[in-house]
């Protein structure tokens, strides 16, 4: 994909190609940061104007005068700002996770939940909501949901890894093992939702859709910490991941053990995504669409693709969350309505590219 026109030195061409990717990545990251500041006060459901958000920010960061209104500070500083920051990090984590999964499984349809995270988390949340069961004794309410979701979302991955250790498996087979377990958990969740009373069913259903209403400063350290550590670890492995693009045999000849790389990547990505998902529910499409957008616009240098996916995911989820606030819907719904056509568009575009070369 590099533009090596005749007469242009190959090395210079490659450098400029990398530079362009780097610029685009930084651009998207800056856009995400600006987006947090610009969008968090947007559609705030109060009588306050959009500009109040800057007054609140000024008050907290620079000690300016506090804006008027009894709940203004609480709503802007304690609800909306952490929600926007969380949205950016959650979007980034899901997108980078999706990107890793697509590389590791060599499947353009893989998403961050490919290891069965969504079904496990859904089941954990459902039993917490519908039955009041907490896997870690003593927890109640929201924390029971979060801890259940986290623990159970890792069960399918554990099974997958067990299969991987016991026998030689192709990536496609692994995905199918994940799907098999997903069906099982899905069935279990459905049963408990069916038996629950309508309000619990509705609660579990809404949890599964993906939402950002319940995040605040309290869970920020966990979400942001998991995302930063996970993403950093993934970025450190970018070289190994880019070798994986050559297929298992190719990776072998280049001195990497594809099985081990796959194992480590699955583990890290799943932990990160599970940590995020247990707070927000399963927000779809960010993780599958963002890497495709990056691939279509920037090319496929793995390191910048990972970073770019993070940035694009953050921007996507921030924008959808802004839309979600306007329409007062869970962000997952916005994502699935917008994501479907977007996904179709991307597929058509890729199809055209593949068949016109």
């Amino acid at each position: 994909m590099s533009e090596t026109r005749p007469g242009l030195d190959l090395r210079t061409g490659y450098r400029s190609f990398l530079r362009r990717q780097r610029l685009v990545c930084i651009g998207f990251l800056v856009l995400a940061a600006v987006g947090v500041v610009a969008l968090f006060g947007f559609s705030n459901n109060t009588s306050q104007s959009y500009w109040t958000s800057y007054a609140v920010l000024g008050h907290h960061l620079f000690g300016l005068d506090a804006p008027d209104g009894r709940f203004t500070d609480m709503i802007f500083w304690d609800r909306l700002l952490p929600r926007a920051i969380n949205a950016a990090f959650v979007g980034g984590a899901l997108a980078i996770g999706g990107c890793v999964m697509q590389i590791v499984f060599r499947n353009p349809l893989a998403d961050p939940y490919t290891t069965g995270i969504s079904s496990g988390a859904g089941f954990g949340a459902t039993i917490a909501i519908a039955l009041g069961v907490s896997l870690v004794p003593g927890l109640t309410g929201n924390w029971a949901i979060v801890v259940n979701a986290f623990i159970l979302s890792l069960v399918p991955m554990a099974a997958m890894i067990a299969v991987m250790v016991v026998r030689k498996t192709s990536p496609a087979e692994l995905i199918l093992v994940g799907i098999g377990i997903m069906y099982f958990f899905g069935a279990a969740s459905t049963v408990f939702m069916l038996w629950a009373n309508p309000s619990d069913l509705s609660g579990a259903f809404r949890w599964g859709l993906g939402h950002l209403e319940s995040v605040g400063w309290g869970n920020m350290p966990l979400v942001v910490g998991a995302t930063v550590i996970g993403s950093a670890a993934i970025l450190l492995m970018a070289d190994k991941l880019s070798v994986m693009n050559a297929g298992d045999r190719g990776a072998f000849t280049m001195g990497e053990d594809p099985k081990r790389v796959r194992f480590v990547c699955l583990l890290m990505t799943s932990m990160m995504v599970a940590a995020v998902v247990s707070f927000t529910g399963t927000i779809g499409f960010v993780g599958i669409v963002a890497p495709h957008i990056v691939r279509l616009t920037m090319g496929t240098n793995t390191r910048y693709m990972l970073l770019g996916s993070f940035a694009v995911g953050a921007v996507l989820l921030l924008a959808s969350d802004a839309l979600a606030k306007v329409m007062s819907l869970p962000v997952g719904v916005i994502m699935s309505v917008v994501g479907g056509p977007l996904f179709l568009f991307i597929l058509v575009k890729q199809y055209k590219r593949e068949h016109m070369v």
Binding site: P198, F205, L329
Partner: protein, 381 residues
């Protein structure tokens, strides 16, 4: 398990030996199908007698025999027999027959889809039929929008009409893009179903808890809605569509060799693919709109058959036609045995189906399957 060793058909004994060998080959397959059919009827007989009532197997059978012979009981003189007859004939019979018809339809449809889309993981719902149906049903349940009368038939009519929309979209796409490859068709189906389920979620989120519950319940496959009044619709639809699919099995065999060689053998690939897709979508739409989503049968039954019979579609389709009902009857019987805990057949199928799915996958056949669909495994469902 290798019931039918795949030996080279050219055995000793020249032409006569060859004929002999082929005759055996066919005979074994026919025998297998007959055994399946017999097993299905035995399970059917047992299943009819499982109901909420305290009644033995023979009581159930006698109730049917008597009813067919025209014997009637008085409600006051012989209440036990009267109610046996009533329950068996009016509630269990249509439901069990419905299980047979739906199971057969879904399994045959899955077998055809897997060949036509050239993907071992294809199933009747691959092209988005179910998402369309659920959207239609939710439109009726939540927004009260139907093309005709309200009530149950409004929901069913909506589900049926919208179930055909994804198929129509794909056919239009094929027309615009001058023949899509099966891969792109599946992707387009996935995208269409994403879109529909997005809209469905949108409706479900906005509604109140009770309506949400009923639309959630509608999606889960259940045979309890089938009665004499609607069984004939499903029956006619399924039989007609199955007949068409059966007539096309020889094309399916040619199609399985790949598009190019099928074309060179004189088969109009696009036409066959179109016809089969339309017919299967119609059949699934009819079934789906009465039962909701019953998964796994269309995926598993053909594979289980292929494990034993090999991939010859002239036998795979009829064998699936008997194995599908066998599985669905089994699941429905479990569902009725556990009637107190309210376990719709769709959920039983999920619990029964996922281990079988994993088993087939990790077995010897799984390997080959995997190789064929390595690029196109749907990542999440």
């Amino acid at each position: 398990m290798r019931l039918f060793p795949q030996r080279s058909p050219v055995a000793e004994g020249g032409d006569a030996g060859f004929r002999e060998e082929y005759r055996n080959y066919v005979w074994r397959k026919v025998l297998f199908i007959l055994v399946l059919a017999l097993a299905m009827f035995v399970l059917l007989g047992y299943s009819v007698t499982v109901s909420g009532r305290d009644m033995t197997f023979w009581d159930g059978i006698m109730a049917i025999v008597d009813h067919l012979a025209g014997v009637t009981y008085d409600r006051l003189d012989d209440p036990v027999r009267f109610w046996n007859d009533y329950i068996v004939w009016n509630s269990t019979m249509p439901r069990v027959l419905g299980a047979v018809v739906c199971g057969a339809g879904l399994a045959v449809c899955g077998a055809a889809m897997q060949v036509v889309l050239n993907n071992p993981l294809a199933e009747p719902y691959t092209l988005g039929v179910s998402s369309g149906a659920v959207f239609g049903a939710c439109l009726a349940i939540i927004l009260g929008f139907t093309f005709g009368s309200l009530g149950t038939y409004g929901i069913i009519g909506n589900a049926f009409l919208f179930a055909l929309v994804p198929c129509a979209i794909i056919i239009v796409l094929v027309g615009i893009m001058k023949g899509l490859s099966p891969v792109t068709m599946i992707l387009a189906g996935t995208a269409v179903s994403y879109f529909f389920s997005g809209l469905t979620t949108l409706m479900m989120v906005r509604t109140d808890d009770e309506t949400l519950t009923s639309s959630f319940r509608w999606q889960i496959g259940s045979l309890s809605g089938i009665g004499w009044d609607n069984l004939w619709i499903i029956f006619v639809g399924t039989v007609a569509c199955t007949a068409v699919l059966m007539a096309m099995t020889k094309y399916l065999n040619v199609l399985a060799t790949g598009d190019r060689s099928a074309t060179s053998l004189g088969v109009d690939v696009t036409k066959v693919r179109y016809t089969i897709l339309i017919v299967s979508s119609l059949m699934v739409a009819v079934i789906l709109s009465f039962t909701g989503i019953i998964g796994f049968i269309g995926l598993l039954a053909p594979h289980m058959v292929r494990t034993i019979l090999g991939a010859d579609n002239r036998y795979v389709i009829p064998a699936s036609m008997f194995l599908g009902p066998l599985i669905l009857l089994f699941a429905d019987t479990i569902s009725r045995l556990l009637a107190e805990v309210d376990l719709p057949v769709g959920i039983v199928m999920m619990f029964v189906g996922s281990p079988i799915f994993l088993y087939i996958l990790l077995g010897r056949r799984g390997r080959r399957m995997m190789y064929r669909c390595r690029r196109l495994v749907p990542a999440s469902i």
